[in-house]
């Protein structure tokens, strides 16, 4: 009865026990390819090393996670890829260097800064991490460990940037992170920006508080809440120590202490007259020192000052540039660039306490090291942490990807390159801060890019010249307002049309030589949001980053060029259906969306012109929720698609052009995917960390998913074809093949990634790809794929993977290599089989005792120009060489077998003198022939022995590795070798027939069994042909 009830209840609630859901882990086989770039690297926010073994150090980045090296930077590995990728602070526990603390949420509060998810700790050198608290602080700027007790840790959290919050201040733990208390808090607008523990007296703590706020159109640093504090009782009580500071109101204050004279501290205090201050009495009184530009410029962004571990008067100020003082801060000089240019904008510095010549500097363009106190620098060129804003592609083979980087200009690179996509494969096509980059699909020499402030450029690859093509206002028109990240978008149907957005939409049909204003002011044009010249608070900061009331997203419908969607940063969502003559603002139709929410992206559907997907981003108002909407009636009504499964504010939505139910969303915390038109979402995590995914493209030819990430460069997930096919029905199958894009018969052009002084991103495979689905992970039995030709011969086999979910295995399309004569060295041709011929093959997937099969086609790439007749000659020639090696192997096998049998029987009959004599004759005859067949001289030196086997191998290697006709020399050589082989076979037959016969006669005479000559079947059996 009970059972009936259970079933009945379940039926009522629609609950099914057996339904298989697609999870993130099941997609684990399709790993993203991170292709860089490390050429210009990215923004570095924290560096710390193991003081007693400086080969080991950690690099924290603004959006690319934490990287660790154990060999002084020769190799870096990402160690934080399961967690939020924005690092605010990082510290190694010097008493237990396997313990490292990471505070997430970069605290250099630029407009594009990311958010953190709390404080993390590892106890095994970064292999495993645990979140220990401060979940809602969003930004952490400093972590200080009590040098006398590593369980006591202080964390400075400036807290949320875009809203009031109690989750800010100075936090302390006394139990290694299990529990926390807030020991210095001013108010909901003010956080803690810096903290120092006196290295000689753990009761003395210095901390600075900072009042600050950002809005979508302004920034303010400074206020009553800011201050500099000191505690002498380990944080229980505090007093202000601002005696000598200039200015009533303070902004951001950064601190440094001399480890050798701990009464000497330095502080850069932001005020209306920002300055560097020095104290000799532990902060009781301060004396103003330098007010030089590099010291005082942009204090909200450059908040780092450090004292040399040995010399208390030597100070480093990494900021726009690196300045060094040797007189206690009175004067500074710029560090030289003798070793080459060092990227500007510095946020991290580590000085080796055991060797103060050795410095490691973190800039907005990567990590550098110096071994001469900062006079010359060398860049680590293997950190692929670039921050792309957008990514585009072209239709070449292989296709190129294009994108602009925060702080590092605009670049493009191929998606495949011999030896991997290396630093040298990235080509610069623009400077400044890069954002949108578009290749002109009608002219392969032209690339459009921009630098901040709407400075759109047209770059010509052939001439390496750039032309500024920015539109200017017409007489009487107001100043043009460009977003920091102004959209450059091309028409999906007419490659000659480009769009550019200010507060008006501009369109050009002549590569930007003239622009047509295609709209009125599409923004709210709110004057209160256009006062950027006042932005900055205590320090005016108007770089263009706060420009507001601008167009941010443009999308022309692929089905109707007159339908253009435009989204603005102040929340207008505008649509024209007549090519720009009239516009309607649809934002009020989006229910559940706060007013004036920034439109981050628009994706007009390729399936139906009335359907469009839009993401909205309200993080700049303190609202971190993802907003994703779809309309199917040209904007009259909207349906919300974001569920609680999506983390992070949304940057981009993309609908798959083949499977309308497949959607992708990129947020500040990763890539998300839905297979049911947005009802449910999973995070795509296979080698795609929870990095900010700012842009998503899907290549129409290769079906690659291309991600522009803001911290891990460009990531490509090859071939969405199998993922597209994951229906509910497929998920229930025990095992089934999944479709792939065509693979071609080839020996391969690009090879594996081989780092050569930098980073090398992997290429996609050129082998034959087989995708399959397994409902469960396989624990019993073997997983294997076997390949058969159309005559039923097995031509190859490869082990399979056993993952639960999607699996991908590649086959090199080679037949088994030829068997070779056994010698004293390995022979290359024994490892290298010929490429299979074109045709239909059967692929069998064997899982334990179950199997399924599918037919696959092996074909050369139709783009390949090698004539069929040449390929046929190559195949025929390879067959000849193949048979020659096998015939030689058979001959050698027979000779060896006879000799071994003869040796055995003569060894067991040592008294038989006649037999011994006959054996010696036979043995000599066989050895004399054998040593002409294959290299026989033992020894590790390069003997350079070339016998028949080696000479056949040489030609085999030439012919088998090239996809075209053999040379005449090769063909002639084959004739020569064939004749020699025939001669050898004749000599061998003579031995078998004549000399062996004599030996056998002697055996018979002694009533011993004759030695048979093994036949081909015995050879096949011994060498296990199949």
């Amino acid at each position: 009865m009970k059972q009936l009830f259970i079933l009945f209840f379940c039926a009522l609630s629609g609950f099914s026990f057996s339904q298989t859901k697609l999870t993130s882990a099941m997609l684990g086989a399709y790993t993203g390819r991170q292709i860089g770039s490390a050429e210009m690297s990215g923004r570095i926010t924290a560096i710390d090393a193991v003081d007693n073994n400086s080969r080991i150090f950690y690099v924290g980045t603004a959006g690319g996670g934490v990287w660790k090296t154990t060999n002084a930077g020769s190799v870096f590995k990402p160690v934080f890829d399961k967690y939020c990728q924005s690092v605010g602070a990082l510290v190694v526990d010097q008493k237990n260097p396997e313990v490292v603390w990471v505070g997430t949420g970069e605290s250099n509060m630029r407009n594009s800064v990311s958010i953190g998810t709390g404080l993390y700790k590892t106890v095994d050198g970064g292999r495993n991490w645990r979140k220990v608290g401060l979940d809602s602080t969003e930004h952490i700027s400093k972590i200080a460990i009590d040098p006398s007790n590593p369980d006591v840790v202080y964390v400075a959290a400036p807290g949320p940037l875009w809203s009031n919050s109690k989750h800010r201040g100075l936090y302390k733990t006394t139990d290694g992170g299990n529990s926390w208390s807030k020991i210095l808090f001013v108010d909901a607008k003010t956080g803690c920006a810096d903290v120092i523990v006196d290295p000689k007296n753990s009761n003395i703590i210095y901390a600075s508080t900072w009042e600050f706020r950002r809005t979508p159109w302004s920034f303010s640093s400074g206020g009553k809440g800011s201050g500099l504090f000191k505690s002498v009782d380990a944080g229980k009580t505090w007093k202000k120590i601002q005696n000598g500071f200039d200015g009533q109101e303070l902004g951001r204050i950064c601190l440094a202490i001399s480890p050798v004279e701990t009464n000497k501290l330095y502080a850069i205090a932001e005020s209306k007259n920002t300055a560097l201050y020095a104290t000799k009495d532990g902060g009781e009184s301060w004396v103003k020192k330098s007010t030089g530009m590099n010291v005082t410029w942009r204090p909200f962004y450059f908040s780092l000052i450090m004292v040399d571990p040995v010399d208390p008067n030597r100070i480093y100020r990494p900021a726009l540039n690196l300045s060094i003082s040797t007189d206690g801060g009175e004067s500074f000089k710029e560090a030289s660039f003798e070793g080459g240019w060092v990227h500007s904008d510095h946020h991290a510095l580590w000085i080796n306490p055991n060797n103060n010549n050795h410095l490691i500097l973190g800039t907005d363009g990567g990590v550098y090291f110096s071994l001469d106190k900062g006079n010359s620098w060398t860049m680590y060129k293997n950190l692929p942490v670039s921050q792309f804003y957008h990514v585009s592609y072209d239709l070449q083979t292989p296709y190129n990807v294009y994108g602009g980087l925060q702080d590092n200009g605009s670049w493009f690179a191929p998606s495949q390159s011999p030896g991997g996509i290396q630093n040298k494969d990235w080509t610069n096509c623009g400077g400044g801060d890069g954002f949108w980059v578009q290749p002109d699909l009608s002219d392969p020499d032209i690339i459009y890019s921009e630098w901040q402030g709407g400075n759109i450029q047209r770059y010509n690859k052939k001439t390496n010249q750039s032309k500024g093509i920015k539109p200017y206002p017409l007489p009487g028109e107001p100043k043009l307002r460009f977003n920091w990240n102004a959209p450059i978008v091309t028409s999906p149907t007419n490659p000659k049309i480009i769009y550019f957005g200010a507060q008006y939409l501009y369109r050009s049909g002549n590569k930007g030589d003239s622009w047509e204003k295609t709209s009125p002011d599409l923004t709210t044009n709110n004057p209160l949001k256009q006062q950027q010249e006042k932005s900055g608070g205590l320090s005016v900061d108007n770089s263009g980053a706060e420009n507001h009331c601008t167009i941010f997203a443009i999308c022309e419908s692929p089905l109707d060029a007159n339908m253009i969607w435009v989204g603005t940063d102040d929340g207008n969502l505008q649509l024209t259906k007549d090519g720009g003559k009239s516009w309607s603002n649809l934002s009020r139709n989006v229910k559940g969306l706060p007013l004036n929410t920034w439109v981050s992206s628009i994706d007009a559907s390729p399936f139906d012109k009335n359907t469009a997907f839009v993401t909205f981003d309200n993080h700049a108002m303190g609202d971190m929720k993802p907003y994703v909407y779809v309309t199917r009636d040209a904007g009259k009504s909207w349906q919300a698609l974001a569920t609680k499964d999506i983390q992070g504010y949304a940057h981009k939505v993309k609908q798959d052009p083949v499977n309308a139910d497949l959607l992708f969303v990129g947020t500040e915390l990763g890539l998300y995917m839905s297979m049911d038109a947005g009802k449910s979402w999973i995070r795509y995590s296979a080698n795609v960390p929870p990095v900010a995914v700012r842009d998503i493209q899907i290549h129409p030819v290769t079906h690659d998913l291309i991600l522009g990430t803001h911290g891990r460069g460009i990531i490509i997930i090859d071939d969405l074809t199998p993922v597209r096919s994951m229906s509910k029905e497929v998920l229930e199958k025990e095992m089934s093949f999944l479709p792939s894009r065509p693979s071609f018969l080839t020996t391969g052009m690009y090879g594996s990634a081989f780092p050569n002084g930098g980073y090398a991103g992997p290429n996609s495979t050129e082998e034959y790809v087989i995708n399959y689905y397994l409902k469960n992970r396989i624990l019993k039995g073997e997983v294997r794929l076997d390949f058969y030709d159309d005559k039923g011969n097995k031509v190859g086999s490869t082990p399979g993977t056993k993952r639960k979910g999607l699996n991908q295995v590649t086959w090199d399309m080679r037949r088994k290599p030829p068997r070779v004569a056994e010698g004293v060295k390995l022979d290359f041709s024994g490892f290298f089989g010929p490429l299979c011929n074109e045709g239909t093959y059967t692929c069998k997937l064997i899982v334990g005792d179950k199997e399924i099969e599918q037919k696959i086609e092996l074909k050369f790439n139709p783009r390949d120009i090698t004539p069929r007749s040449e390929r046929e000659l190559q195949a025929k020639t390879v067959e000849e060489l193949f048979s020659m090696q096998e015939d030689l192997a058979f001959l050698a096998f027979r000779l060896k077998s006879v000799k071994e049998q003869a040796a055995s029987v003569s060894g067991s009959n040592k008294e038989n003198k006649a037999l011994q004599g006959q054996y010696r004759i036979l043995e000599k005859k066989i050895n004399d022939l054998y040593t002409t067949l294959v290299a026989s001289i033992e020894g590790t030196n390069i003997t350079g022995e070339e016998k028949l086997r080696e000479r056949i191998s040489e030609v085999y290697g030439d012919v088998v590795g090239f996809e075209g006709k053999p040379t005449q020399s090769q063909i002639d050589m084959i004739s020569t070798l064939k004749k020699e082989l025939q001669d050898a076979e004749k000599k061998g037959n003579d031995i078998m027939e004549k000399d062996l016969a004599v030996f056998n006669k002697t055996l018979s005479g002694s009533k011993l069994e004759n030695i048979p000559v093994p036949d081909r079947a015995a050879f096949d059996k011994k060498t296990k042909k199949n």
Partner: protein
Amino acid sequence: MKRLLPLVLVLFFLSGTAPAITLDEIISNHLKAIGGKDSWKKIQSMKTSGKNLFGSFEFPFSQVVKRPGYSRLEVTIQGLTMVQAYDAKSQVGWMINPFQGSKEPRKMNEEQVKGFKDGLVIENELAVYKEKGWKAEYIGTDDLEGVEVYQIMIMKPDGDISYHFIDSETWLLLKTTSMVKFEDKEVESETQYSDFRTVNGIVMPFIIESMSGGKMVSQVKIDNVEFDIPLEEEKFVFPEKK
């Protein structure tokens, strides 16, 4: 409605979070699943043979191991046989690598021999860590190719660390990652186990894969295993020149 109520309660409890699992529970379930600690202790020696796979190349291998740490592995390629052996008595590891033309036996260097010194030729680390005095810790759950696994860390006194991933459903050991420290570097290796079969009262994997970056680099496929066959010690001793 009254009749349905108890059901609601049942479902509520069913859907509650599982109680936290302990290190000892995991280890004990694991040892039970592989046949019990005693069944393994009984075994004095093992001989396995089968195929070694590198990509699509396949070579036959044969290996014998004997307590307290003797081992000899032979792999034959193109008629040339490579030997890798360890003599537990003299603590000498050696090999014959004929592929470049020389059949001279050579002693292993420090890096090559370190892995043999533990003497773990029969059981895995989880079965013996306690008596060896190593520290073990349960780190938490993780995902391995779509299944939930328990991650256990074992720390040896010389600083080497290994991680062991146990299937939360079958309690079998699916993967091991070891970090071996040398003076100038740390070497990481990852091994996956599958095709589990019951033989001689124990459950052991018949496929052992060496992984790098989540992808398989080489595979050992066992075709045959024999237990406690007679073995001469000369097989393991370094062949001195005569």
